[in-house]
Symmetry: C2
């Protein structure tokens, strides 16, 4: 593979990621939630069993202070709440509220919608292959919100 092809791959990857991010966020906003993409990335970390502010910062690739500000905003908008951590009195466990779960489901719907558009171009099977390939590349790297 020549050098300029590698750069083209990068550009295609970034364009696809940007396209998808915008489609999902647009879909969520259209369903009546006041959020930005970074919030969605936070939800995917919080959904399973909650997380601390510091863990959230690692997941998003930002400082814990920035993560704390983001949580503050989500609390204000009613999507999450801070609870005392069951095992560490210093920490707080951030968990989704019912509204937060609704928003997460809306994001899943919007994501499925966007991916269906891809499936129409590539075919269902190809999309599955694409997902499998991608998941082997950066298994649990941080989702860096800005560049």
């Amino acid at each position: 593979m020549h050098n300029h092809e590698a750069l083209a791959l990068s550009a295609a990857l970034l364009a696809a990621a940007g396209d998808l991010t915008q489609r999902i966020n647009d879909g969520v906003v259209a369903r009546g939630f006041e959020v930005r993409p970074a919030h969605g990335f936070a939800f995917t970390r919080l959904a399973p069993a909650g997380a601390t502010v510091t863990e959230l910062g690692v997941h998003l690739g930002v400082t814990k202070q920035a993560a704390s500000q983001l949580v503050e905003e989500l609390v204000r908008k009613g999507y999450v709440e801070r609870r005392p951590h069951p095992e560490d009195a210093r920490a707080r466990l951030i968990v989704l509220t019912e509204r937060g779960w609704e928003c997460t489901r809306a994001a899943e719907e919007a994501a499925a919608e966007a991916v269906r558009a891809w499936a129409a171009v590539l075919g269902e099977a190809e999309v599955r292959v694409l997902r499998d390939q991608l998941s082997r590349i950066a298994p649990d790297g941080p989702v860096r919100p800005t560049w």
Copy 2:
């Protein structure tokens, strides 16, 4: 494909894009260029035959004012220069300097290096398939630098 799988695909795509972006930029910086990722995205638009500030803004997904500021920074650092536009006296054609071309080549090398790491995991053929699939999804969408 279930909804949560679509969201997982999105996450994988974003993580891969973030990973790749950082690797490329790290590689370019290590080769002695003082740039951030947005500059690289600008270069890919400027490389073929130059571009106007407005065109650059469209490519990057920002306002022309923001693009103008970015160009100003690149001029200051010696990577590009503003020339009178051959067909429109209002416009200016932004073109790469020799140093700009060096930086572009460095980015291509760094990108090839990063993609080689992927090929070690997926196999050369799979990477080619990946690129082809991606290029069919968002052919020339803007590279949105922030979210």
